[in-house]
């Protein structure tokens, strides 16, 4: 039988699941309607498993559910066992030390009854070093920023700790950041200490992206997504202009 069509069965919090072979534990738990908190996970980006918030228990072992592929039958996972909750609370304290004002983390901390450890918050800058921005930048087609340095010194930066030369100003990094750490301005576009022009849509005139971003996308004669949908619908249905509301 083909590997990709195989199904795997097991239980999460006592509830049976059947998932495609290789599906992640996190996605499968979501499918059952269970909530596992995550921070560095983003459904559109490759998982990295480095915030450790999504830890769950399996037979006394802790697993990062966003990275755990289901490959064998009969595994039992617990998302809220004492071990899993204790681990999550510990991780949360460390994350709060980096981002003590993050609303999502504070909400989770309230649920688990933990707070930021004042001994650890020295140097907190709001960034938890999860690298979601770096992955977003790479997925968008650039790799203008990276995690640089080690340990306490590690941080997201452009080459030579300067405004990143390869940045196209698309702000994918800032939108992907789970703690809102990356400062940027949508309009006029400004990010990582650089200012960018915004190209207006040739049809409706609303800004649709920076020229560098549009060049990276490689689309000829780009129009904004709203206008593209409208033009495409018109071409399909052959209806007169008046049938469509103005954007």
């Amino acid at each position: 039988m083909n590997h990709t069509h195989r199904k795997v069965t097991g239980t999460i919090d006592g509830r049976k699941f059947e998932a495609p072979h290789g599906a992640t534990l996190l996605d499968t738990a979501k499918g059952l309607g269970l909530t596992i908190p995550t921070l560095c996970h983003h459904p559109g980006l490759p998982p990295d498993g480095n915030c450790r918030l999504c830890l769950v228990e399996s037979g006394g072992r802790l697993l990062a559910s966003c990275m755990y592929p289901l490959r064998s039958d009969g595994e039992a996972f617990l998302t809220a066992s004492p071990l899993a909750l204790e681990a999550r609370a510990f991780v949360l304290r460390l994350l709060l030390a980096r981002a003590p004002n993050d609303a999502y983390l504070l909400g989770l901390a309230g649920e688990l009854g933990v707070g930021a450890d004042p001994r650890l918050t020295d140097g907190a800058d709001g960034c938890i070093r999860c690298g979601r921005c770096v992955r977003a930048c790479r997925a968008a087609g650039s790799e203008a920023i990276a995690l640089v340095g080690r340990g306490r010194e590690r941080k997201v930066a452009g080459p030579f700790f300067e405004a990143p030369i390869d940045c196209v100003g698309c702000a994918a990094c800032a939108r992907a950041c789970p703690t809102g750490h990356i400062a940027y301005s949508e309009e006029p576009r400004s990010i990582w200490g650089r200012d960018f022009d915004l190209e207006p849509c040739p049809l409706c005139g609303r800004p649709m992206g920076t020229p560098e971003e549009l060049r990276r996308a490689g689309v000829e004669n780009p129009v904004c997504p709203a206008c593209r949908r409208r033009e495409y619908s018109k071409s399909l249905m052959g209806l007169p202009e008046a049938s469509f509301p103005a954007p």
Binding site: E143, A144, G158, P159, F160
Partner: protein
């Protein structure tokens, strides 16, 4: 910023296929040639290997053996591993810092001498250990360490 011998960077780049997997060995060779990683060299590496400059910078910043500022022509490295620590590496550091007028991690103003620490050299039986340009000197005392300078 130092003037970089571009032909030397070029020769290092030419010595290997232009593939991303050679990033680290190339950086090591540039470090050995210039005692640091000049900005122009890093940009040249990024261009040749078609690796984003951000990733080159990230790799370059990760390893202690690589440096963005020139290391000393002579390099004194004090081992700070557990065995050396217990057998008096702290006193060696103090003695060398005082003698050289440098703090750990610093290079003398003329670029001749650098003082560094390392977390373990694996020569624990010789603790405490200092290397001078890679030559190992073991069983040191603060007095004997001064003679290495």
């Amino acid at each position: 910023m130092s003037v970089v011998d571009e032909s030397l960077v070029g020769r290092i780049l030419d010595s290997r296929p232009p593939e991303p997997r050679y990033l680290l060995p190339i950086l090591q060779e540039i470090q050995a040639a210039f005692r640091h990683l000049p900005r122009e060299a890093l940009l040249a590496v990024a261009g040749r290997l078609k690796v984003p400059a951000a990733r080159v910078f990230s790799v370059a910043g990760f390893y202690k053996a690589l440096s963005f500022t020139p290391k000393g022509e002579r390099l004194l490295t004090v081992c700070q591993g557990t065995a050396c620590h217990l057998r008096g590496a702290g006193a060696l550091v103090e003695s060398l810092e005082k003698r050289l007028g440098l703090r750990m991690g610093q290079t003398s103003g003329d670029g001749r001498l650098g003082l560094e620490s390392v977390n373990c050299l694996g020569a624990c039986a010789l603790a405490p250990v200092v290397t001078v340009d890679g030559d190992v000197h073991g069983h040191l005392t603060p007095e004997k360490a001064q003679e290495l300078v």
